[in-house]
Assembly symmetry: C2
Homo-oligomer: 112 residues x 2
Amino acid sequence: MNQSLDLAFSALSDATRRAILSRLAIGEATVMELAAPFAMTQPAISRHLRVLEEAGLITRRVEGAKRPCRLAPKGLAGIDEWLGLFRRALEANYSRLDEVLAIQAKRRKDKN
Amino acid sequence: MNQSLDLAFSALSDATRRAILSRLAIGEATVMELAAPFAMTQPAISRHLRVLEEAGLITRRVEGAKRPCRLAPKGLAGIDEWLGLFRRALEANYSRLDEVLAIQAKRRKDKN
DNA sequence: GATTCATATCACCATTATGTTATATAACAT
DNA sequence: ATGTTATATAACATAATGGTGATATGAATC
């Protein structure tokens, strides 16, 4: 169901793709410009860009023969949201963590 | 070099593992307790737990025959840090995004 | 019009990921 | 001592990932 989250986290799990995103934080860049820093062929970079695009992290324009990429404005929204929910769940329960652990310990003891 | 980031993002890219983390936000749980909600065998869950542990997202205790898991306190630190840096880079450059684009446009035009 | 440039896509290969079943092991209950 | 529970691990099948070289295509240049 939450496949877009899968795609976003998965896209970020590769160092090359994170580096591409960092480069794009500076501004738009073409495929060749993005490929330059890496010891990797152009098709490999094109694939990485496809992954980033499918994850909703970048967008591409057409400009003549070039396909300049830029960051998608709302790219990290899904990830932000999940992390936010997770942290809220954590905080909501952290206050009673000791209590929960005590209950569980008692439950285990009662089974003896 | 930043392999721990790879591991963390990769671990989060699976819905089952994210669900396990959400469950652990409530508090400690054993392997069988964690496996219960999923249509998946116990070895599969054990593997997911290993992935989460290697990514630094959970820790495990030994309690008799049980191996209760809980969230690692600093588990998301690496991810938070990267996202923070990324966003700062973005903001630092967003203010001059128009300028950058104009320069690039001029550069392209000059090549004509 | 021919050549070169920017990019995409295809066929292929190696590695990793994710699941299964079967089995081992240690702790617990009887 | 024996059976059961909790977990791990091994062996395996299958699919996904990430790279390569070869090649297609359309735009730019000469």
